[in-house]
């Protein structure tokens, strides 16, 4: 079935003929309420947005919805979506010689002008390769001719883009609402002047936050340390992220798509603010989304009104990195409930701070039905919580737990991390002790009228050092260490029958750490892993650790060197030329303070901690004011 078809013709009849053969075909339909389909031939720039995971995950991603509306509300521009087909559909597509298609018009992905990916987590990278392959495109950027669409990528992962530089032509750093439109406008301009992809890439480097890796040369010493990153031609030596200064006037998808099938976040997504300046030292998102910018209550009330009307959802999820920190969170919830609860529309808070204030907020929004609460103390001992700058005392935690169980909650989820820098056996014992204390406080606080038994689930992740954090220089624990620590906790918690203990797959965290702090040389490992059959690595049933190890061996690279080594202060980092606006010196200073267990205050309190983002990017903290 390789007959040449006319450019821009829908593959609908062919795809529809195989849909009866797959599980849950409804996830592949497109055509959701508020989805957009434009007349192909009248367009000047067409973007295919490829989410490197399945539909149910991709449709829960706010960035996709924002960019979808930003592009589609402009004349002449269009964005269509594509997601990872599940293995049954992928096999059928390959068998019938059909390419990856977009959900809106069932168009061949490679016919679009620009192909855009979002990088949400390292373990989706093999999916990027697989999607390009399904689209019928050469995987390596250098093997794609000037007539083939540029492949671009944004999202958090773009802040260490190096492992993907063999495959991606251009990266978008930071917030892309305006940047993407500039890139599309430039595409139209270059095309009209008779230019192609290479001309566009060269000019695109002038746009804030745009990184074109082919204009940079990286050199290594004999051990594999980077000795130089050189910019060629007019490429900027350091690329600063793009940032939206005022969220109130920024575009927001109030005409949001409504999936037919169940997706992970099946509700209205209301972003109340961007950024978090609590300064947890392991947290990458807390750095990359700086500074904190809140929306006004009036903006949020207006957006909610449109969203409820345009979607029909009965739940408004208040989204941000830490919604309880939104300075007007109480009044906002009151306003939203006043207006919408009579129509059966409720409010939900996906992430909670561990304190009594947050429990009171949860009580406000879950008066009748109490679903579970989630707390993330992250570390078990006070010493280690101070090292990571969690700014949370045992008293805070136990008070919050007491308040929650007193008010009738019975199930609690706790998130912890093991393998944090400076962690000792005492810290692990501290974690088990804390969980025991939490359980006994819960038992004491639970009123007699509550019949449901207490259920505490403890989920323990392995620390993965992330670029652009104070812990970026620190190696990950070895797999043997992690295994011992998991074993210790499992045994300590076994006698507690109300506590369910689970931990993340350490092999997955290991590979994640390799790519998190990886360099350009990992491109060949990624390619080899995909060739060997790795894909959908974030899905435990598909993750093939054995194949990953084989890929590293075949490429002659040692994954342990990447994951476990402590990087020297003066060493050049693979992401040295990528800037989040936060000074490298500040990260190092934070690491020094961490070792002494010194806390750094949240800059919202008024004291600048000198991270440098506001000065460098000419932005400021923007807090909502009372009554507005």
């Amino acid at each position: 079935m390789t007959t040449k078809k006319e450019w821009g013709t829908s593959l609908a009849p062919l795809i529809e003929s195989i849909l009866p053969l797959v599980e849950q075909p409804a996830q592949y339909l497109g055509g959701e309420y508020n989805s957009q389909k434009k007349d192909w031939h009248s367009l000047k720039a067409r973007v295919a947005f490829l989410f490197p995971d399945t539909y149910e995950i991709g449709m829960s991603h706010l960035g996709l919805r924002i960019l979808y509306q930003v592009v589609n509300e402009r004349d002449g521009f269009a964005m269509e979506r594509s997601f990872v087909p599940k293995p049954d559909l992928e096999n059928l597509l390959r068998e019938k010689g059909l390419p990856l298609f977009t959900w809106e018009s069932y168009l061949d992905v490679q016919e679009f002008d620009i192909i855009a990916f979002t990088l949400q987590y390292e373990m989706s990278y093999t999916n990027i390769l697989n999607m390009l392959d399904l689209a019928g495109l050469p995987l390596l950027a250098k093997e794609r001719g000037d007539d083939m669409p540029p492949v671009i990528a944004g999202g958090l992962g773009a802040f260490n883009p190096e492992p993907l530089t063999d495959f991606v032509d251009l990266f978008c750093l930071g917030e892309s609402e305006n940047q993407l439109i500039e890139l599309l406008a430039l595409w139209v301009k270059v095309k009209e002047a008779g230019g192609g992809k290479s001309a566009w890439l060269k000019e695109a480097m002038q746009i804030q936050g745009v990184y074109v890796p082919s204009f940079y040369r990286v050199s290594y010493d004999c051990v594999g340390n980077i000795v130089a990153i050189e910019a060629k031609d007019a490429a900027p030596a350091v690329i600063e992220k793009a940032v939206i200064k005022d969220l109130d006037s920024a575009p927001y998808p109030t005409c949001s798509m409504v999936p037919f099938t169940k997706v992970v976040h099946d509700r209205i997504t209301l972003e109340v603010m961007r950024g978090c300046s609590r300064g947890c030292r392991f947290c990458q998102a807390g750095i990359l989304y700086r500074p904190v910018r809140e929306k006004k209550i009036s903006t949020l009330v207006g957006q909610t009104r449109k969203l409820t009307k345009n979607t029909g959802y009965d739940e408004i999820g208040l989204i941000s990195l830490s919604t309880a920190d939104y300075s007007q969170v109480g009044p906002l919830i009151d306003r939203l409930l006043d207006e919408h609860s009579q129509n059966g529309v409720g409010v939900s808070l996906p992430s909670l701070r561990v304190d009594a204030f947050s429990v009171a907020l949860a009580e406000k929004v879950q008066k009748v039905r109490k679903s579970g609460l989630t707390f993330a103390p992250e570390a078990g001992s006070q010493r280690l919580r101070d090292i990571i700058n969690k700014g949370l005392t045992e008293e805070d935690i136990l008070k919050a737990v007491g308040a929650a169980f007193q008010q009738g909650w019975t199930s609690l989820k706790l998130y912890f991390m093991i393998g944090l820098p400076e962690e000792t056996q005492e810290d692990l014992a501290g974690m088990a002790d804390l969980i025991e204390k939490i359980l006994s406080v819960a038992k004491r606080a639970k009123p007699k009228w509550v019949k449901k038994p207490i259920a505490i689930s403890v989920s323990v992740a392995t620390f993965v050092p992330k670029p652009h954090t104070p812990f970026q220089w620190q190696g990950q624990n070895s797999r043997e260490q992690v295994q011992k620590k998991q074993q210790y906790l499992r045994e300590r918690l076994r006698p507690l029958r109300q506590v369910k203990f689970s931990c993340h797959d350490m092999n997955l965290s290991f590979i994640e750490a390799v790519f998190s702090r990886g360099d350009r040389r990992l491109g060949k490992v990624l390619l080899e892993a995909w060739r060997l059959g790795c894909k959908m690595d974030a899905w435990s049933e598909h993750f093939r650790y054995d194949l990953w190890l084989k890929a590293f061996a075949n490429c002659g690279l040692d994954p342990v060197w990447y994951s476990e080594r402590n990087i020297d202060e003066l060493a050049m980092l693979p992401w040295e030329h990528i800037s989040s606006g936060v000074d490298k010196k500040w990260f190092w200073q934070e690491w020094q303070k961490a070792q002494k267990g010194e806390l750094t205050e949240d800059c919202r309190s008024g004291k600048c901690t000198g991270c440098g983002v506001c000065q460098k990017l000419d932005v400021g903290i923007d807090l909502a004011k009372e009554g507005l």
Binding site: P25, A26, L29, Y33, G312, Y313
Partner: protein, 218 residues
């Protein structure tokens, strides 16, 4: 308080929605349209919308039915005008009427479904011979596979009528509803014709059928 019975078509790609997806889609569309739907009493109130017999995933239709209870009087014309813009492309409202007297529920009364099945082209005479052969049998045992296992069912009593419309098109009148469903694809496959592939199935009617074989629309 009023109950509106309406009919609608499922067109294009939306034929791949499941019955549950369809239910969810209508509930959300009703909210978008701000229709004053009634809710059930109880701890977990749910909207009073009752769809007729499920269409199988992949089956298009020009004859689906649903009942909706509203807390205010609503004209059928006003209802259609309010709901249609809130529906995705591929769900087309056909008609609506207010149920005045007590009417049996759709699920309790509909017992007959009519389908037109498009197959890949064959000799019309061969097809006709096979159909005649099938109809001549008094019993037609069929292994029905489901996630729960294999069950043997007799298809024959549930085939009310079957005829060949053209070399690539068949007409089927089958039993549906509380007394048991006969699926059109099962009947086609029971013809036992090698290389016969179903291209598309469309439900063209749902009826209340009496013992004499007289049909009326719900």
């Amino acid at each position: 308080m009023s109950v509106i019975r309406f009919s609608f078509a499922i067109e294009g790609r939306l034929r791949f929605l499941s019955h549950l997806d369809l239910q969810k889609m209508f509930n959300m569309a009703i909210q978008r349209a701000a229709l004053p739907i009634a809710y059930s009493q109880g701890f977990n109130p749910h909207p009073q919308l009752a769809l007729g017999p499920a269409h199988a995933v992949g089956v298009a239709s020009v004859a689906e039915y649903a009942d909706m209870e509203l807390i205010k009087d609503f004209s059928p014309e006003g209802f259609l005008k309010t709901l249609q813009p809130a529906l995705p492309q591929g769900i087309r409202l056909l008609s609506a009427r207010a149920l005045t007297e007590k009417t049996p529920a759709l699920m309790a009364s509909i017992n007959c479904a009519v389908y037109v099945v498009k197959v890949n082209g064959l000799e019309k005479t061969i097809l006709e011979a096979k159909v005649a052969e099938l109809l001549a049998q008094t019993e037609l045992l069929w292994q029905r596979k489901s996630p729960k296992g294999i069950k043997t069912v007799d298809l024959r009593p549930g085939i009310f009528e079957m005829k060949v419309l053209a070399a690539n098109s068949l007409f089927l009148e089958l039993r549906i509803g509380n007394t048991g469903n006969i699926k059109p694809d099962e009947v086609i496959r029971a013809l036992n014709i090698e290389n016969l592939a179903i291209e598309i199935i469309e439900r063209t009617g749902l009826y209340i059928r009496d013992e004499q074989g007289n049909k009326r629309e719900p």
